[in-house]
Symmetry: D2
Subunit: 365 residues, 4 copies
């Protein structure tokens, strides 16, 4: 169903930008996992607005409440329902959007599809919906941390045309290194330039996009369910299900198409007592199944659609109109999207881990 | 489940490269659709090996048999089961693969996951599995042709580093224009250069990849099911579920991240009696829902993993070994992937069309 | 997933007997449906404890809060999240259950399955979980009332050995007739005897079960999705998913097996401008699809497992122990189960209505 | 989807009574299971027509062909596709059914739903569709036999009004004891009376129904996924998805409603080193989860709708008409339904076994 994601570790998110609350239900959470609000709040804090000068000034505490599925500090196998109240909703700021369609937003398409729309801050199409994803993703990350440990690290590699040099071969950064600057690029010089660029476009009421890289290490071989639920296929869906995303590439990606097979193939080699590959253009996945190497992929985010510059559009009746962005928005969504990308990745991985277990551990032949 | 795709128009494919047959079951095919083998064979013929000098010489007639779900020339609402017998299987050609893992193939990961593998031609991981997808896709395409008409056209825009110039702004080509050359690039000069490149690398036992573009016109506004089953998310999953794909981008894609919001946004304009957009960097989808403009996206395919050059690898026990490609393979998969991309696109669109109908046409409020 | 029900109109319930709250998310609710808390509260009031002398004295206001999916009095197509806070939880009353397994309750099986259990009032296995079902069912009932109108009426036909005489051929009762007595049997004399029986067994600390009949009129022909999702199959699953149910029969049911084919078959006849049947042993469903006649079925509920009489059992370590029921319980669950049976029926019907629409209304051939 | 059953061990059946073939695809079959056609043929032979004088004389060899998913005698984790060709189809025998609706068959409802019907032998609504279920069920039974061993035994307990005495407390019969007579009732005296009754009604062109009991022993505690996918709920759905079924009851069933709680509860007792119950009115399931005791349930089958006696009906235009049964049919479906009930039971159990494994074995906390 449209607001559920996952097969065995399945989340259902709900809530609108300016409604009473946003939330998520996890169905299929394994029992006996130690879990409290403290495990979740940290990821929500990385996602919440108002963190820095380069993000939306909306003030939300985003305090999560676990309503079910946990008993005496451990999950019980029952659904885990989590809720975050909206506190700084200002629906009045959106009155003009009741009549006019914001360019490159979902106002028009929601109206066309449903015949009705909650125009306040985009309603369901707002990125505020991702609060539920991040809360559930925090549970998934805890599971992976205990299981592997599997580490998932996303960070910004490019803002507009400012990026980590290609072939940079950057090391796997720590969370602290990623969070050292508000733009969440672990390369300090690049980060400084990115921040300047964001401040420049914001000063003009404009916006920028960029690229987030996500890397996973510690993943065992065997995750992924061909032929349709390939691991990279589910990751691609997860990423393209996020607001503002326009592209996904795994391993060598689009650039890999410029290589010949003899240059692109990853030779197998003995590696620390297991079978590994000498190079990793496959991005840790072959035939839709993880091979034990690092999984990595890039996600393209478009420039924020809301800009503080007058734009041509039409009103509800299709008559030409002009609209200037209002409300509180990020001039660049990428810094806050980093924990969201990590959350979706964690959700995919836990789900595939459970699916693999079901098919391979239920019976011994 | 791993071998099923779609929610309401749901296909399940089965079969291995060198097994008895490959096939597909469509569950949820609307009743009363005129359908015969003739509707399907054309798409299978575009996919089959041996079409030209630049594809695999394997000889398969790929004659499809409809086994159920059709009565007196129309679908009945019951499952449509279709089967294609494998006739030119040569499993003996793969004996060496029983012992050694082919680099950047799925041999190792299938073994790691399932503890067993059908090594003959890749077994289930072979692109031969896509026969079922194309057969089902042909049914979906017929539905769309009758419904819209909705036209889906994929074609090759780049092979290795030879591509249609960026910003080419190419017109929507006809099937005849796409199929004019065996490489399925509708630009004749570019196609000629592409063919030469493929012949060059094949002569050296090597392989190349590239990019396929897919375009859809005639699609109504309203298809797509946020927040997770966004239209582009399901298209991304569909494409990344194909063998050899490494990337997906919708609309402006990765290049769009180099624009500012003021450059990237698509202004709404009155258009032929409906609301349209003046530009189309959104790729026909906003907020996960089609907006009535052309939908278009690019898919990256890596160079074919099988090459006729000696490569380093390991054997089943992890000992270093050398392997030279055998069997019959395409030096470049893209020409034959064109109908497969179209098939997957059609499957996504019919499924979303039905989902949209369920939510919006079942009841009148 | 285990806590979700339905394919297109899909609900996910969450919450435990003595947790913070119980609730439900509806994913796939059609847009533009007029909806407010007032539409839901009535059904919750029919389900809540403390309604009469023959039900549990637990005091719960069961006030529902709609948290999402409704804008300016109409559904938007986004998920409808509803929450009911638990106010009269008295977990201390269950301390003994932490150590001992209550006979014919789910304590032991939850412990065996999950390795952990929320022992307070049965935790997730408590019938309190059905609050979410009834809230979602109220939405489904409103849809059906507007669509058909389709009327769903459940009532108690037997308590212990006191029942409406077989072959009673009772008319379709109104809600007022059903609710005239607290036992929800529309036959006043039978109801009076039932109430006396419940009071007798309660006085002895014992409990009784019985049978609920559910009838649906106004349903069009065509609902049901063979071969597995037959309408009666999904109704059976819905009913057997309720706590305390032991049996389901549709139409002639078990008694129908005593007839010969010549006695059992329902002849087709012209009927009010449509094709109907002269008799209705089929219970309004043939081949898994509704035929336009009244749909009716019976559901068996066992006697309440909690009794105020000392019983033999074992403790967590398997040692023999004795246990006497505590907490607040119904000596007979059937009166309060009536709205729950109606809710589940409504959920099945709306879901099948949407599925039928998807397959038959999406395209015209 | 309507023609798929199961969550992780998922089958999709296809095929019509008088089409080219019937078949099934299993998606999610665990890898490395030893499997050949020989494992499946035995169950198909128990289901096939023409076994004895009291079943349909249709001649079908029902030889199964495994088309995929098995390599060198073991499953690979890929879909297992199985096909049975129809050989004794006589569609001409059904010409009258093209114009008239057979009473209590699915002709009318299929026409009403789909606007088209394959009238030949009931098309998709024919019990011939269960060939695929039995083939897949044989795979599931083999898995259970290796895993537990878990034994599933169904048999006929009543035909018309002739049944094993209530409270018979019959022992768990062997397959040989069940198959000793063609009616598949393990009590020889009762079986003889049943056969006479079937012969009597058949001589008059009439038909009878009855009750099948199914029992499962060796099942571990812990199978079942509350709150909706309770084990008994999925068994109920499985049984009511079979042609001709009208009722399902688990454990004490409808008769259990005549007991008081103090009589009905199953006391826990130490039992062979585990926790068991002294009685088993629960039918081996509590709170939707197996408790390690024998699981047993009853299924009601109506008398065969096809009778060789003239019946009133209407034609396609709703005009009164008369119809006399033709084609080859069973005067009583129960003997051949025994292996079908076992197959569906096995499918439910393997699926739940895998689901339980996914939630409980994937991670260790």
């Amino acid at each position: 169903m449209p607001n559920s994601f996952g097969t065995l570790f399945r989340i259902t998110t709900w809530g609108e930008s300016h409604g009473a609350a946003v939330g998520v239900v996890i169905d299929g959470c394994p029992p006996r996992l130690p879990l409290s609000e403290g495990d979740i709040q940290g990821d929500l804090d990385r996602r919440k607005p108002g963190q820095s000068d380069i993000t939306s000034p909306r003030k939300e505490k985003d305090k999560v409440e676990i309503l079910s599925g946990v008993f005496e500090g451990r999950t019980t196998g029952a659904p885990v329902s989590m809720l975050v109240r909206n506190s700084d909703a200002r629906p009045g700021a959106y009155d003009e959007m009741r009549e006019k369609f914001r360019p490159s937003h979902a106002d028009f398409t929601y109206q066309a599809k449903y015949g009705i729309r909650d125009h306040r801050g985009g309603g369901r199409s707002s990125a505020r919906e991702t609060v539920g994803r991040v809360a559930a993703g925090a549970v998934a990350r805890k599971i992976l941390a205990l299981a592997g440990p599997v580490e998932i690290r996303a960070y910004v590699t490019r803002i507009h045309d400012i990026g980590i040099p290609p072939g940079h071969g950057e090391p796997f950064p720590s969370v602290a290194e990623v969070d050292m600057t508000p733009v969440r690029c672990p390369d300090p010089a690049t980060a400084a330039a990115m921040i300047r660029r964001i401040e420049e476009v914001r000063a003009k009421g404009d916006s920028v996009g960029g690229v987030i890289r996500c890397r996973v290490r510690g993943l065992p071989a065997g995750l992924g369910e061909p032929v349709f639920d390939r691991l990279e296929a589910d990751l691609a869906k997860a990423m393209l299900s996020l607001p503002a995303t326009k592209g996904f590439e795994i391993g060598s990606g689009f650039a890999g198409t410029l290589l010949k097979g003899s240059e692109h193939n990853d030779p197998y080699v003995p590696k620390e007592g297991r079978i590994g590959t000498a190079t990793n253009r496959s991005g840790g996945i072959q035939g839709g199944i993880s091979n034990g190497e690092e999984v990595f992929f890039n996600v393209a985010f478009k420039p924020t659609a809301t800009i503080m510059i007058a734009q041509a559009t039409v009103d509800n009746e299709g008559r030409p109109a002009e609209l200037t962005g209002r409300g509180r928005h990020d001039p660049c969504v990428l810094p806050r999207a980093v924990p969201i990308v990590e959350a979706m990745t964690a959700l995919v991985l836990v789900d595939h881990w459970m699916r693999n277990s079901a098919q391979n551990k239920a019976f011994k032949f």
